[in-house]
Symmetry: C2
DNA sequence: CCAGAAGATTTCAGAGCTAAAGTTTGACGA
DNA sequence: TCGTCAAACTTTAGCTCTGAAATCTTCTGG
């Protein structure tokens, strides 16, 4: 059901691990070189960024286990979220993921080769193409969610019930403010979840 | 003091803006397709990830204004943080940024061309090379910090004094937990701050 | 029936990166 | 004084991912 040539799917390029300081040290260095910085703000921002980076790394690992890349996962997610019958056209997918149609075509090529989706002409309107999730593709997405649920809970294990509500509310307020000040800033880093 | 050929520094490839749902809708769709998901956890994670993505986009914009890329910014930061006299070797830089030496060489090539750093042989030990921050490079980093301070404060404007302390503490606890469960996961997304 | 629009793909080029080979320089023992 | 080896950086080759623009196919409306 998968590929003939087992394209190495998602093997990481074995790169050097980055040297990383603790948040406090980092902020202290910033203060030394840029004295007017607000240490508290800087600490919050740094911590938040670092948490999200670590989560990203964790997701990537899980995906590596599943043998897909985060680019492929994004497509699976878009199809699943579109709901049954899990079909979308390349153009629509490109729009949702923020890619050009050309990039989408290539991504789909790979995914078809991996058996994650199928590509067919729409017989009703032969200009259109239908990308449909395969059983394999859907299973991989579901499995990725199961794995994610496990470590997301793990990450939050020190944050108690009440505190979770507060954290959620605070982050939400922050996001609203950001969206307000940067209206069109819909970046395209892989959001991975 | 800058480049001869004004290499377009950091011009964005004008790509389609990604379609994005609100957090609540997103989580609702996840629940529909994966009923065992914990909505609160998912909401927290999604929000946090989205906040960090938007911040990344905001940083990138600032850098575009300054005419540098985030890759170049990372190098500037490493040099500034290393302290006066703002010198490091390519190998050391590569280690700190988590790149291979080859990638570092190329990055430095670009930055020398842009007048952000200088590259010289170490006359004391001619095997070594010294990368040194220029005035321009240091100024760009300082300016980026000034701009960042402005919008970081803006993002946090709805979070009051007391709440900031709590947020900081909560995030810190979360980060510690993550670092504990993923000891070696020092990913290398641009951390940008 | 033809012109033009819409949708997808192909072609071409560019940015970054890695791995591996190559170059220069310094260190050290015979 | 060599000769060899190691260290540090650079060069080369190749890969993946992407965007822009050209191309191809098919539908639609006059």
């Amino acid at each position: 059901m998968t590929t003939d040539k087992p394209r190495p799917a998602a093997d990481k390029p074995a790169q050097a691990t980055r040297l990383e300081l603790g948040i406090a040290e980092q902020v202290a260095l910033y203060q030394r070189e840029f004295p007017t910085v607000d240490p508290q703000v800087e600490t919050i921002v740094q911590t938040l960024l670092r948490v999200s980076r670590r989560m990203g790394v964790a997701y990537d690992r899980q995906l590596t286990v599943l043998g897909i890349t985060s680019a492929e996962w994004e497509v699976l997610k878009a199809l699943v979220v579109s709901g049954s019958p899990y079909q979308l056209g390349p153009g629509e997918l490109a729009k949702r993921l923020g890619l050009t149609p050309a990039a989408m075509t290539h991504r789909i090529d790979r995914m078809v080769a991996d058996g994650l989706v199928t590509r067919e002409r729409d017989e009703a309107n032969r200009v259109r193409v239908i990308i449909e999730l395969t059983e394999t593709g859907r299973d991989k997405w579901l499995e990725s969610m199961r794995m994610a649920a496990v470590f997301e809970e793990e990450f939050l294990q020190d944050i108690a019930g009440e505190e979770r509500t507060e954290l959620s509310a605070t982050l939400d307020r922050m996001l609203r403010r950001i969206e307000e000040s940067q209206p069109d800033a819909l970046g395209r880093t892989e959001d991975l979840a």
